[in-house]
Amino acid sequence: MDTNGVDGLGLLGDPTRRAIFELLARRPSTVGELAQHLPITRSAVSQHLRVLKDGGLVVSRAEGTRRIYRLNPDGVTALRAYLDRVWAEALTAFGKAAQSIPTDPEQEDP
């Protein structure tokens, strides 16, 4: 199990945590609601939420008997970490695409 230094990008490097993060970006949810969308148990969802909370990306509040999780409303840490991830993946994909177009050697000017 990966337990070394989780911060910023590291938090969202885990695909399940990223999926949870993206679900919460679309709407605040309870553990049960998140678990319905993911192939993992509620207990596993809770563990990921704890990591995301400790990392400052997610906050929660009690609403009656339910606990609602949402992205940290200060916005910055979460948004920045997320965009960081987006660009890392996008530019990597871009590099592959830009390089994969075959250049026809016969088109080279003499």
């Binding site: 910023g8 990008l9 970006a25 948004l79 660009w87 990597t92 994909a93 830009a98 250049t103």
Partner: protein, 162 residues
């Protein structure tokens, strides 16, 4: 009026073994061919994303049902050297039409040689995407800037198989 704290811009660099014209073309005309489809804001799955090739052009996604969601606008169109677009997607993953809330992405394409181009990307004015008063605590939060560069460096230096 209080001054809004600024968020340091995100930056990234990648080197591609292809001429600048081709690299610029892939980034713009071919935008929908490489942009990871999971990063979109529409309610339906994304079919493609389009960057209109002109100053003032739209930058938007098209859903599998034909619906469209704006992402931003083209501010500078200077093929094959430079491109500036706005990114107007806020923290709620919604398009914000207010130009005052538009962050900017500048992409520079510099030819290292006839067959090699370095692409430098800067995503700036991130503070415009979120409410100014909400910034106080976030600024000092842990950052992922260096991680992005590390990833890019890894991708860029990864020798192609064969």
């Amino acid at each position: 009026m209080t001054s809004t704290p600024t968020i340091p811009p995100l930056t990234g660099t990648i080197t591609v073994d292809a001429p600048a014209e081709q690299v610029f073309g892939t980034f713009t005309d071919g935008f929908g061919s490489w942009w990871p489809a999971e990063y979109h804001i529409g309610q339906t799955d994304m079919a493609t994303a389009i960057l209109e090739p002109r100053q003032g052009g739209r930058w938007y996604e098209q859903g599998t049902d034909g619906s469209e969601c704006d992402w931003g606008r083209v501010l500078a169109w200077e093929p094959p050297h430079r491109l500036v677009v706005t990114w107007q997607i806020n923290g709620q993953w919604q398009y914000d039409p207010d130009p005052a809330h538009a962050s900017e992405i500048e992409v520079r394409f510099s030819a290292d040689g006839p067959e090699q181009t370095t692409v430098t990307l800067e995503h700036r004015h991130l503070e415009r995407l979120v409410d100014g008063q909400a910034l106080r605590d976030g600024i000092t939060g842990g950052g992922g800037w260096t991680s992005l560069l590390e990833l890019l460096a890894k991708a860029a230096t990864n020798p192609p198989a064969s």
